[in-house]
């Protein structure tokens, strides 16, 4: 997590990461829906919450010390990390004989939830930038 540096503090980086993870999640869920009738297809999902939690500076987690001003901050790479993919839990009861683990209802629910969370993050980022602009133009 980058240290707050005045104008563009850490929240914006968190929102940026959230948007990127949510769009990766949308792509993964869309692939699951497209493959809802593909034999032996295993559903995937992105561990969005876990990846976002890792961006929060956890209590007791040590930051890498920089002994020279020219050193690159170690946390900067977190935002560039690849979206963590994992195999989605298969439905508890399935009457399908084709080995497909896509639960269409659950996926559609997750899709709407993900889209809503994406729009929320976008809205927050927009308001944050709007607030900054307001400060820059002196509230005129």
């Amino acid at each position: 997590m980058p240290q707050p540096t005045g104008l563009f503090d850490g929240n914006l980086a968190l929102l940026e990461r959230a948007l990127s993870l949510r769009s990766a999640q949308h792509r993964t869920l869309s692939a699951n829906i497209a493959n809802a009738d593909t034999p032996h297809y295993k559903a995937f999902e992105v561990a969005v919450e876990e990846a976002l939690a890792r961006m929060r500076p956890a209590a007791g987690r040590l930051a890498l010390a920089r002994t020279d001003a020219g050193h690159l901050p170690a946390a900067a790479g977190a935002a560039r990390e690849r979206p963590p993919l994992r195999v989605a839990a298969p439905p508890a009861f399935s009457l399908r004989a084709d080995g497909n683990t896509v639960d269409l209802d659950r996926t559609m629910g997750a899709l709407s939830e993900n889209a809503l969370a994406y729009k929320t993050s976008a809205q927050l980022a927009a308001s944050k930038l709007k607030g900054l602009r307001n400060v820059i133009i002196g509230g005129k």
Binding site: H26, S30, I33, A34, N35, M108, A122
Partner: protein
Amino acid sequence: MDLYDAMRTSASGLSAQRLRINLISANLANVHTTRTPEGGPYRRKEVVFQAAGGAFGDALRRAAAGGPPGEVRPLKIVEDVRPPVLKYDPGHPDADENGYVALPHVNVMEEMVNLMSATRSYEANLNAVRAARDMALKALEIGK
């Protein structure tokens, strides 16, 4: 960009489900067809789907790139292996010497259930496209 990829993936799902619906229509239309270019009664057709990148090389490349699974594509169209249904109808021009006509093994109920399932899957893909569009539009509002 992830959202464009998502739309492409959903579009592949739409096209796959449409192919499935077309085959179901063909099965229903040919429920009484006794003559085909290949000879014999019509055989019920069904499509088998495959996740794109199912081949080893594709899967390896995808895993290296860290990308999620990809689009769906029709692998092949298979013909039903169940034998034709024999119906006693001596007046039929295609009846055999015992008066039985070989009719396609098409069960209208089965086709209708398949049709409903395909329609639902089609709608699910359509909703995914809509959600991707809404998300992209919302992202465009950042910085407005």
